[in-house]
C-alpha cells in the first residue's frame, strides 16, 4: 500500500509547476472564501450584538401577554426574582429593567408618535450605551428629573433643541391619559434609523409615573455571548415560564434581523457554490491533462495486471492528496488573514450612511473566524476535489491497455 501512495505522491510532484498552480488555486480560493465568510460572520455578529444591546437584550423577560398586546397592566412587579433566577441559568452578564410604551411627543412646533423607553440610567450605560451615543447635550443623570433624550431624527421633526420643553402623552395603565413635561437633555444618534426617528428615552422612574405602574414592562438580559442564548432561554423558561413570565430570545423579538442574516447566509452559500464550480473546473482541467499525459503509463499498469478499480483508486488518491494539502494551506492562510484583519478591523466609514439603513453597525467590521463556517468551506472544497476526480479516474480506468500503450 505504501508503494501505491508513493506512486500517487510522485505523480503529484512530477510536474511541480502544474501542481503548485493547482494548489495555489485551491489555497487562495479557499482562503478568499474563508475571509469573505469571516467578514460576513463578523458583520452578522456585530449586527446582532449591537441590535441586541440597542433594541432588547439577548433574552428579554416580559410579564405573560405584554409582548403580544403591549398592555401596561401586564408588567413585572418582582424583577429581583427574575434577576435571581436568571443568575442561576448560567451565562448572564448584565441585567436591566425597562418600561416600554407608545405615546405622543409634542413641542411648540410639532407632535410625533413615539416609542418611549424608560431606563435605569446607570445600568443602561453598560447595555445600550446611550451615554456614548449623545451627539448634542448630555446623558440623563437624574432619576425622576423629568429629563428626556431624543433620537436626532425625532428631535429634528419636533424642531426641539437642548433645554426645550417636550410633552409626552400616553394612555396609562389605569386607562387615564398621562401627560408629563420634560426638558430635552440630549440628542443621540443610535445608528439605527428607526430608533433615531422614533425613540424617546426617559428615566425608568419618570416612565413608571407616566404609565401609572409600579413595575417594569421588561427585564433585559445580556449574556456572555450569543452562543448562550438557546440554553439560557430554555433553562430560564423551565424555571419561570409557568409563573406568569414570557422568556423570549432576541431572534423572536427581532425576526427581521434573523431573516436578514438568513438571507445574507444564503447569498454566501451561493457565492460558495460559484467558487466551488470554479475550483472544480480548475482541478478537472489539471486532472484531465495529467491523465492524458499518462495514458501510456496507465496502459502499462493495466498490462501488468492492475485492475480498473485500482486505477480509479490511484487517481482518486492523487486528488485526495492534492485536495488535502490545498485545504490545509487554504485554512491556514484564510484564518490567519482573518485574525490579522480583525486586529484593527476593516474600516467602512465611507459607507456608514448606507450601513445605518441596515442597522446599528459600527463602521469598522471585525472579521470573525467561526469554526462552523471554516469547517463548512474546507469540507466543501475538499469534497469538491474528490468529486471532480471521479470523471478523470473513470476515464483512466476505462482505457484499453493496448490502445493506451500506443498512445502518443
Amino acid at each position: 500500500m505504501l508503494l501505491f501512495i508513493k506512486v500517487a505522491w510522485r505523480n503529484i510532484t512530477r510536474n511541480l509547476r502544474r501542481t503548485l498552480i493547482t494548489l495555489a488555486a485551491i489555497t487562495f480560493g479557499l482562503a478568499s472564501i474563508i475571509i469573505l465568510f469571516g467578514f460576513t460572520d463578523g458583520f452578522h455578529a456585530q449586527w446582532v450584538e449591537n441590535s441586541v444591546k440597542l433594541y432588547a437584550g439577548h433574552v428579554v423577560v416580559y410579564a405573560d401577554g405584554f409582548y403580544e398586546n403591549r398592555n401596561l397592566n401586564r408588567n413585572i412587579k418582582n424583577a429581583e426574582y427574575v434577576e435571581e433566577m436568571a443568575g442561576k441559568a448560567g451565562g448572564l452578564n448584565a441585567f436591566t429593567t425597562r418600561v416600554h410604551m407608545h405615546g405622543l411627543a409634542s413641542t411648540a412646533e410639532n407632535s410625533v408618535a413615539v416609542l418611549i423607553r424608560g431606563i435605569e440610567t446607570e445600568k443602561e450605560k453598560q447595555i445600550s450605551g446611550f451615554d456614548r451615543r449623545i451627539v448634542t447635550g448630555e446623558y440623563l443623570d437624574n432619576e425622576g428629573g423629568k429629563e428626556i433624550l431624543l433620537g436626532h431624527g425625532l428631535a429634528s421633526r419636533l424642531h426641539a433643541n437642548i433645554g426645550n420643553k417636550v410633552v409626552l402623552m400616553v394612555q396609562a395603565a389605569d386607562g387615564s391619559i398621562g401627560a408629563e413635561l420634560f426638558r430635552l437633555k440630549g440628542i443621540f444618534r443610535a445608528g439605527a434609523i428607526d430608533l433615531d426617528k422614533h425613540l424617546a428615552v426617559i428615566s425608568i422612574k419618570d416612565a413608571q409615573d407616566l404609565a401609572v405602574i409600579k413595575g417594569v414592562t421588561e427585564v433585559a438580559l445580556i449574556l456572555d455571548g450569543p452562543e448562550y442564548v438557546r440554553p439560557f432561554t430554555e433553562t430560564l423558561n423551565q424555571e419561570i415560564g409557568s409563573q406568569g413570565f414570557d422568556v423570549l430570545p432576541w431572534d423572536t423579538l427581532m425576526p427581521q434581523a434573523r431573516e436578514m442574516i438568513d438571507l445574507s447566509s444564503i447569498f454566501m452559500y451561493v457565492v460558495l457554490a460559484i467558487f466551488l464550480v470554479v475550483v472544480a473546473l480548475g482541478i478537472l482541467n489539471t486532472m484531465l491533462m495529467s491523465i492524458m499525459e499518462r495514458t501510456r503509463e496507465f496502459g502499462v499498469m493495466m498490462a501488468l495486471g492492475t485492475r480498473p478499480a485500482r486505477i480509479v483508486s490511484l487517481v482518486m488518491l492523487e486528488s485526495l492528496l492534492l485536495g488535502l494539502i490545498g485545504t490545509v494551506l487554504g485554512v491556514i492562510v484564510g484564518v490567519s488573514a482573518n485574525r490579522l484583519v480583525s486586529i484593527d478591523g476593516f474600516d467602512l466609514s465611507d459607507w456608514s450612511a448606507a450601513m445605518e439603513l441596515v442597522s446599528s453597525l459600527n463602521p469598522v467590521i471585525y472579521p470573525y473566524t467561526d469554526s462552523y463556517s471554516v469547517s463548512l468551506c474546507a469540507a466543501a472544497v475538499f469534497l469538491t476535489t474528490l468529486v471532480v476526480a471521479i470523471y478523470p479516474a473513470l476515464k483512466a480506468a476505462r482505457l484499453r491497455p493496448v490502445e493506451a500503450m500506443h498512445f502518443v
Binding site: 508503494l3 501488468l304 492492475t306 485492475r307
Partner: protein
C-alpha cells in the same frame, strides 16, 4: 504427461479486425497456433503482419473478433476486463519493445509493483526484487529511476519485472529492437537461461536474426496468417 498438460498456449481460428476510420482492417485471419510448456518460440514477419496483435491477444491485452485463445487450458477469449487483468497478473509476464517502465518508480519499485498487485508483503517483495535485479546484472542500480538508466538497463528491469513472479508465460514484443547487439545478446541469454532453468514458456515477436538463432522454434507470419514452422 498428457497433451493438455503439455499445452501452454493454443489459438483456434483466431481473427482480429480493427476499424480504422470506419474501414475494417484484418490484422489476424484464422490463426491456429499451439505452444508447448517450456517452449521458446519466435514469431517473425514483416511489419504489419500481425505479430504484435497475436501477442496482445495471447496476453489478454485485447479481445479477438473471432476464434478462441486457451492459456494453460483455460479459454480467455471473452473474459471481463477485471478477469483479463487477473490472468495478466498471475500467469503472464510482459516485455515490451519500448521498455514501458513506470517513470515515477525506481528500478526496484518497478519490479516490486507486480508483486504488490499480487498482495505479497514488503519483505518478500524487496528480497525477490533485489535477487532478480542482481540476476539481470543491475545490482547497485536498484534505486535509480528509469530516466537514470540506459536503454539496455531499462530493458533488463523490464525483464526482471516480467519474470520476478515466475509466470507461466513471458511475452516479449521485439525486446531487442531498441538495444545494441551486445546488450541484446546478453538479454537473450538471460531469457534463454530463464526458459531452460525454470521451464517458462517464452514467446517473442522479432525481426532480429540473433533472436531466431536462440529459440526452439520460429513461426512466420504474413498478412495476418501463419506461414509455417521451422
Amino acid at each position: 504427461m498428457s497433451e493438455a498438460a503439455m499445452e501452454s498456449v493454443r489459438t483456434v481460428a483466431l481473427s482480429k479486425v480493427y476499424n480504422k476510420s470506419r474501414i475494417p482492417v484484418e490484422a489476424l485471419r484464422g490463426v491456429d497456433l499451439e505452444v508447448d510448456k517450456g517452449e521458446f518460440l519466435a514469431i517473425v514477419g514483416p511489419s504489419g503482419s500481425g505479430k504484435t496483435t497475436l501477442l496482445n491477444l495471447i496476453g489478454a491485452l485485447d479481445r479477438p473478433t473471432g476464434g478462441e485463445i486457451f492459456v494453460g487450458g483455460s479459454n480467455i477469449s471473452r473474459l471481463s476486463s477485471g478477469r483479463q487483468a487477473e490472468i495478466r497478473l498471475r500467469q503472464i509476464g510482459f516485455v515490451f519493445q519500448e521498455f514501458n517502465l513506470i517513470p515515477v518508480l525506481t528500478a526496484i519499485e518497478n519490479v516490486e509493483y507486480v508483486m504488490l498487485l499480487q498482495g505479497l508483503n514488503r519483505n518478500i517483495r524487496q528480497a525477490r526484487s533485489r535477487a532478480i535485479l542482481r540476476e539481470v546484472g543491475l545490482e547497485g542500480m536498484e534505486d535509480r529511476r528509469p530516466a537514470e538508466l540506459s536503454g539496455g538497463q531499462q530493458q533488463r528491469v523490464a525483464v526482471a519485472r516480467a519474470i520476478v513472479t515466475e509466470p507461466d508465460i513471458v511475452l516479449a514484443d521485439e525486446p531487442t529492437a531498441n538495444l545494441d547487439s551486445e546488450t541484446g545478446a546478453s538479454l537473450l541469454d538471460l531469457m534463454k537461461k530463464l526458459n531452460r532453468d525454470k521451464q517458462v514458456t517464452i514467446i517473442v515477436s522479432t525481426h532480429d536474426p540473433m533472436v531466431m538463432e536462440r529459440v526452439n522454434r520460429v513461426v512466420r507470419m504474413r498478412d495476418g496468417c501463419l506461414d509455417g514452422a521451422r
